[in-house]
Structure formats: C-alpha cells, structure tokens
C-alpha cells in the first residue's frame, strides 16, 4: 500500500475514534500533538488500526513507537509480509 493511502486511511480512523473532522497525522505526530489522544483513546486507536489492516502489533513494537511514522513503518512491514 502506498504511504499516502495508508496515511489517508489512518486519518479516517483517527477522525472516527476522536470524533473530530480534519484530523491529519504525519510521521512526526505524537500523542502530545493531538488533543484527546490519551491512554484510553490510545488503546482504542491501536485496536481499530489492527482490525482495519488485519494485523497484530507485538507489545514491544507498540512500546517502540515514538511517533506515527514508527507505527506506519511497522504497519507497512506487516502488510508486506502478508
């Protein structure tokens, strides 16, 4: 999947979970940059992302996500391995 398309799909997931329109995540985006991305929302986001892309993150993978870019790299790796 093209990176632009992946970010587009992620934006839609974030908009749905955060109940906000126009949410745009970029590689450098962190939880601190997005109002409402707290520990609970984080849990729901990760679950929704896994379900949307039919993937499963490992605990250590999630723990190493410093920003959205790290997560996207992990998603791409998992999609490529399918």
């Amino acid at each position: 999947m093209e990176e632009n398309e992946l970010y587009g799909q992620l934006n839609k997931i974030y908009e749905t979970i955060l109940k906000k329109e126009g949410v745009t995540v970029a590689p450098e985006t962190t939880a601190a940059d997005i109002d409402g991305w707290d520990s609970l929302t984080h849990m729901i986001l990760m679950d929704s992302i896994e379900k949307h892309f039919y993937i499963k993150f490992k605990l250590m993978e999630i723990m190493k996500f410093n920003n959205v870019g790290d997560m996207v790299a992990c998603i791409q790796k998992k999609l490529a391995a399918k």
Binding site: A31, S39, L40, H42, M43, L59, M63
Partner: protein, 218 residues
C-alpha cells in the same frame, strides 16, 4: 525488629499481587480493575502476573519497581515507585499498552464506557517527579512506620542512581482518610483534587474523588 529493604524479584510476585489488589481496594471492597473490566479477582491476578512478568519500567506495575521491606527476613510491606516519564512515555500510556496486550480484547473493548468514567477522575502525573503507588503493609506489620521508611528508601535509591528527585507524589482516593492523614503526617500536602458528579463512578471506584498529594524534597 530488624528491617531490611530490597527490590522485588520473581519470588515476590504473589506478595506484590496481594499488595496491588489490597491497595486497589483502598479500604473498600471494590477492586477498580475488576469493576471496570467486569472480571473476577482471580482473573485480575492472572493478568497482573503476566504484566509483572514483562518487567516494563516507567509505570507502577513494574516488578523491580517495588521495594520490599522485610522484617526479620519476612516480606512485611511494599511500595511501587518510578520516575514519571523516565521511559520517554507517560506511565498511563505504558500501562494501557500492557493491559491491551494481556487482557482479552473483547473484555477490554466492552469496558470502554467504564474506562471513560474512570479516566474522567484521573489526574496527570508530573513528569520527573517520583511517583509512589500500591502502598501495602501485611497484617501484623501495620502501624510500624514501614510505609514511610519505604518512601524514603525509594528516594534514597533513586538519588543513589543519580536521578534528580525533587518531589514525591502519590494519588489517593478521596475517601481514604487514614491514608491521607498518614501522608500529611509524613509532610505531604494535597495539590490537586478531581471529582466526578456521576453516581456511576462509585460502582467502579471506592469514591468519586481522586486527590494528588506531594512532598517537596530538600
């Protein structure tokens, strides 16, 4: 009475789980995790065991983050401690990841409305401050000042490791008057209070108010 201190290890897991569940009750019969996730105490203990096995620092459910006070060679009391943000992530975020990984996903997602309520009384912990949680003294060892000694031991060990510790913080339920008095006696003052005006919260927590107390260190 000979008191010695050491970090918890795998052999202390049952004692630490007992400490977590008893501290969670906070003087009531409610274990918030059980109420939020609609699980039994035994099911919670299994989840806690798996989380403690991860040995993930920067949050309260880190096994070596617990210091054990032994009285005459017997584990008598314990407290968990960590420096907020020391792993580059908020403790609440690390804990979320751990629960997400070790709790049945369906159970977790069904608990979202309850978690939202509990989140509404959560107070953010201060970055860089020493946090203490799960203060527990076993029966027969209460009233001996072990908790205060354990807090001092956490401060001493962090400083020995070269960490700048300028304040200690503890989060308490507003209904836990004996604990609040004990912390006040130990030099803590209440700095934040959060109340939720929704009666449903008292089915999940032992009361509707959380308070953050802190002690500034010299």
């Amino acid at each position: 009475m000979s008191v010695t201190f050491r970090r918890a290890n795998a052999a202390d897991k049952d004692f630490v789980i007992k400490a977590i569940t008893e501290a969670e009750k906070s003087g009531s019969d409610t274990i918030s995790y059980c109420a939020v996730f609609s699980i039994t105490e035994d099911e919670l203990k299994v989840i806690l065991g798996k989380i403690l096995d991860e040995e993930m620092g920067g949050q309260e459910l880190y096994l070596p983050g617990f210091i054990i006070a032994e009285v005459d060679g017997v584990p008598a009391a314990t407290i968990s401690g960590w420096i907020e943000g020391e792993e580059g992530m908020a403790s609440s975020m690390i804990k979320s990841n751990l629960f997400m990984y070790h709790t049945d996903r369906e159970v977790l997602m069904k608990a979202v409305p309850q978690m939202k309520l509990v989140n509404a009384v959560n107070i953010d912990r201060e970055q860089g401050a020493l946090q203490i949680e799960y203060v527990y003294s076993a029966e027969g060892y209460r009233g001996r000042g072990l908790a205060a000694q354990l807090v001092d031991e956490h401060i001493r060990r962090n400083r020995e490791e070269g960490k700048q510790v300028e304040k200690v913080q503890v989060m308490l339920m507003g209904s836990n008057a004996p604990a609040i008095r004990a912390y006040e006696k130990a030099g803590f003052i209440t700095v934040k209070e959060k109340k939720l005006d929704d009666p449903a919260i008292t089915k999940l927590l032992s009361c509707d108010t959380k308070i953050l107390m802190e002690r500034i260190l010299n």
